[in-house]
Symmetry: C2
Subunit: 226 residues, 2 copies
DNA sequence: CGCGCATATCAACAGCTGTTGACATGGATC
DNA sequence: GATCCATGTCAACAGCTGTTGATATGCGCG
């Protein structure tokens, strides 16, 4: 029964192989640079198959974005850990190599300026970034969320696409604390829970008494993967 | 004398008209989206003329970037005013309308991901952004400079290209203080003069004394050439 | 006038990219 | 075995974009 479960194993397999290849391509090149023919060649099939399997290049990209956003919880960390987490992710070696799970950040960074990709990315941004982030942030929460994402994207572009020298890996030691402090500023003092100090505006509550410091450095030594 | 001063007035005129049209185009569309034919149509000449006047599309873009960077001092403000100035520029209506002087930021924002534009933009970044900025910033100065530029670019893309809702004009009141505080964090405590207060962390220094407001609109004049 | 030069145009090429229609193949079902 | 459908390939189209060679036009100068 259920004539569409395992029967079409072949198709599902090819389909997912194409999707995976597209995922990698779109994470390394812009929408325009990514050619259907390249994706087809990666999988070892004809261009026409790639096209007809997904209907159009645009719909393929749509599925790629959705898949990337599901593959990895974007902002699962708690508020206090968020800045350090984001900084660490930003300084990760990206998908230079083996990583099978593509970071949605890569997809965003590469395709942020392509007209066809913009509506799709904007939707994904609202759904997979702003929404999960809002309950964790300080008072103009949507603004803080988007600002956070914008800085992540900007830094990601400068580091992984432009390859601007002062942001290369050799300076990670200098960069990480800067980014963390910046992110802390943007994240803010928490979701309007300022009942206590009420000093939500100026983060002057307890002038870093050594203990908590600026959101307890979580060590986060960045996995020595290599 | 000087057989190349006013004699070729015609050519120089057309040339600069093409350059100006290209400036506007590249500030509103990406490198790939900007067609030589459109620029030619703007000026009212043939495509071939545009091409041959500058040698290639790439060289035209090079001149565009150079012209944009000269047209406006990018980071002329003093250190203490820098964050507010940058925030104000970021929230400017961009070139939606009349502005004749194109902000280099627009060119950067639109072309940051185009393979042909990247080397050119990276050079301009080092020359016209990092270099003038470094003497004004805190300790890992080049890193702070690039981080600043990256955030400007990221926010610019999200606001002017992606048109992400929480960053639209109607929220400028909420956004500006956030951006200013963020920029202050990145700018740091000044060029290795961190001996003093170190209270730069908390931006509790008198919420600007009404006078300058957010960075006294610079009025931008530019030589009235025409 | 005729020579040369800069300015500008026209038509066409070469290259590529997403897309599409016609056609092979292979297995499941009747 | 005949039929049907999914899977897949092949060749080709249509559209565009930067680029280029041949060619006109206007102007200064012997």
């Amino acid at each position: 029964m259920s004539p569409q479960l395992d029967v079409q194993g072949s198709k599902q397999d090819t389909r997912s192989r194409i999707l995976e290849a597209a995922l990698l391509r779109f994470a390394q090149c812009s929408y325009e640079e990514t050619k259907l023919r390249d994706i087809a060649a990666d999988v070892g099939v004809d261009v026409a198959l790639v096209h007809r399997t997904f209907g159009s290049k645009e719909r393929l990209f749509e599925e790629v974005v959705a898949a990337a956003c599901q593959s990895r919880q974007l902002f699962s960390a708690e508020r206090k850990e968020l800045p350090a987490r984001l900084a660490a992710r930003l300084l990760e070696p990206s998908l230079d190599r083996v990583i099978r799970v593509v970071d949605p950040l890569d997809i965003f960074v590469r395709n942020l300026l392509s007209p066809e990709a913009i509506p799709i990315l904007r939707a994904a941004l609202a759904r997979d970034v702003v929404e999960p982030l809002v309950p964790k942030l300080g008072d103009p929460a949507p603004q803080r969320a988007v600002l956070l994402a914008a800085c992540l994207a900007g830094i990601g572009i400068f580091r992984h696409v432009l390859h601007v020298e002062p942001l290369l890996e050799e300076f990670d030691g200098d960069i990480e604390p800067l980014i963390i402090r910046m992110m802390e500023t943007v994240v803010g003092a928490g979701p309007s829970a300022g009942a206590r100090g009420s000093a939500t505006r100026n983060g002057k509550t307890a002038p870093r008494a050594g203990k908590a410091g600026p959101a307890a450095r979580p060590r986060q030594r960045k996995q020595g993967a290599r």
